[in-house]
């Protein structure tokens, strides 16, 4: 465990986001308690934990979507140009019905441009969307309707969207649920590559401990508070994780928790 207090953290020049004593409560239900966490640039941090451990809530607190106690600081002093923190977010899933008339381009245009989507898109927006999609090998999906995409295609599209503009902090909330195994591998290779290329800080929530352990620099075991923090192999070997998930073998795809659920999809 290395929940250092901010004062101890002298090597923190590249520390992008710092959570201090963060807590979230919904009514009497204390979902997160006493979260101290430094998220570093260029580091892929995987968060594992049982269902209802507060993983998604942690993201929603960082996004400012739910009220929280404690403090979240964003340090961008290392940035070349001063700017507000840019967060890229890839949701677990998008809720839409099969007839939803939303195209991939619509999603990009709404996020990137001030021009109302229903008046059409400018050439610049279309070019920006296409080059973002090309990054994740999905350029041909520009005009596709969301309802026609496979799980893997949709997650790559959402990743491309989260990376435009290049964020300081990338939040991935179970980004590969509903993606077939080859799609999962492609997705993680892209994420690892992006981290190196853009020096991103990445937080990744996943149920599939074994697979993320191969790609992550650091792993957190979260269950309302951070119970284990360190290198993936150490966290997966800690007593509390073994008690929750059983022994997880890296690198081959032994699974934990609900990963069997993902295999069939």
């Amino acid at each position: 465990m290395e929940n250092k207090s901010p004062d101890e953290c002298l090597d923190c020049r590249t520390c992008c986001t710092r959570l201090e004593k963060v807590g979230v409560a919904f009514g009497v239900n204390q979902v997160l308690k006493d979260i101290n966490l430094h998220i570093h640039c260029g580091q892929l941090t995987a968060i594992i934990g049982p269902n209802g451990a507060g993983k998604t809530t942690l993201f929603r607190a960082i996004l400012g979507e739910v009220p929280f106690t404690g403090e979240i600081h964003n340090d961008l002093s290392h940035a070349q140009k001063p700017h507000d923190l840019i967060i890229g977010y890839v949701p677990q899933r998008l809720e839409y019905d099969a007839t939803s008339p939303v195209s991939v381009l619509d999603l990009f245009a709404a996020a990137l441009s001030a021009r109302p989507v229903w008046t059409g898109q400018s050439g610049a927006t279309i070019r920006a969307a296409r080059s973002a999609l090309d990054m994740v090998e999905a350029g041909q999906l520009l005009r596709a309707r969301l309802g026609t995409l496979s799980g893997g295609q949709l997650q790559r599209v959402l990743l491309a969207l989260a990376l435009t503009p290049v964020p300081d902090l990338l939040l991935l909330d179970e980004p590969v649920s509903g993606v077939d195994p080859s799609g999962i591998d492609l997705f993680y290779r892209m994420v690892s590559d992006l981290r190196r290329r853009h020096h991103l800080a990445i937080l990744l929530v996943s149920h599939d401990c074994a697979v993320v352990a191969r790609h992550a620099d650091r792993m957190l075991f979260l269950n309302r508070s951070i119970l284990s923090d360190g290198k993936p192999a150490d966290v997966l070997g800690s007593d509390i994780v073994i008690k929750t998930f059983g022994r997880v073998i890296i690198p081959e795809a032994a699974a934990c928790a609900r990963s069997s659920q993902e295999d069939g999809l």
């Binding site: 977010y89 007839t99 939803s100 008339p101 939303v102 709404a110 001030a114």
Partner: protein, 280 residues
């Protein structure tokens, strides 16, 4: 406006010679694309039941106006009440553990009950039953001007806020990561919906106003493959259904709002079949 109505008067149809039909046609041309645009995002946000509840709240607004001794059509009390209800439901949806259709169902039934109790006291409800079916043919020039004003306001909102509403309807966390203020956007959209619905109630009627909003959007969803196509198809179908319904209601002597809904339904069924045939 006189130029427009006199232009309508040139048309070689019997109905086109009457001033009330000229006014009604103008009103239909303003209101139907507005309803269609609004309906597209109401459907996208899964708020169809919400807009229905706002329509029903009109009755309570009228009742409150009557209590306060306001004019025959107490637009202000209706507007204030509808906006309060829109904000109320938005807040309840956020803080209540009950599902949002349960919350809306409770609020709607209760407000309608309050309205009916107040208006029916002493057996005088019949006086207000015209609000249930509406009377588009009674619209005056001045009222058309106020509709134009609402349409202009709506257009400004629709140009400036559409992308944010769209992002919030797609995924709230994703919208938040794009710095969209979720609660403000949802609240504002609810208020604008309340404004448009309430302004139109006396002409199209509480019973069918929601169908006029939802049907064109639902029909366009069966065919559209992008947001732009979705909104413009809905607007086109809404205008055609509106004009067809108005003219038909003239010959049938039926309530205009309800007759337009029949045509809207024809579009919906037609688009459903066309969408299936195209195979998507």
């Amino acid at each position: 406006m006189t130029h427009i109505t006199s232009f309508i008067g040139i048309l070689p149809f019997e109905w086109a010679h009457y001033a009330f039909m000229q006014n009604a046609l103008l009103a239909v041309l303003i209101v139907t694309p507005l309803f269609a645009f609004l309906g597209c995002m109401v459907v996208n946000n899964q708020m169809a039941f919400f807009s229905d509840a706002i329509g029903h709240a009109g009755l309570t607004g009228i009742a409150l106006g009557a209590l306060l001794g306001m004019a025959e059509t107490p637009l202000w009390s209706m507007l204030v009440f509808a906006v309060l209800m829109a904000v109320g439901i938005t807040v309840l949806r956020r803080y209540s553990a009950a599902s949002s259709d349960t919350v809306i169902g409770i609020v709607m039934s209760f407000t309608v009950a309050c309205g009916v109790v107040i208006l029916s006291r002493g057996g005088g409800f019949n006086k207000y039953s015209r609000y249930l079916i509406g009377d588009l043919l009674s619209i005056t020039r001045g009222e058309i001007l106020s509709l134009i004003l609402v349409a202009a306001l709506f257009l400004v909102f629709w140009l400036s806020s559409f992308n944010r509403i769209f992002l919030v309807s797609t995924n709230t966390s994703l919208a938040r990561s794009r710095r969209v203020n979720i609660w403000f956007t949802q609240g504002l959209f609810a208020c604008i919906t309340a404004l448009v619905v309430t302004m139109s109630i006396q002409w199209v009627g509480i019973l069918v106003i929601n169908a006029l909003i939802i049907l064109p959007a639902a029909a366009a969803r069966n065919l559209a493959r992008s947001m732009a196509a979705y909104l413009w198809m809905a607007a086109g179908m809404s205008v055609i259904a509106g004009v067809s319904g108005l003219i038909t209601s003239y010959y049938w002597s039926s309530a205009t709002g309800a007759t337009i809904v029949i045509f809207g339904m024809v579009f919906y069924v037609g688009s459903l079949v066309a969408g299936r045939v195209r195979g998507r």
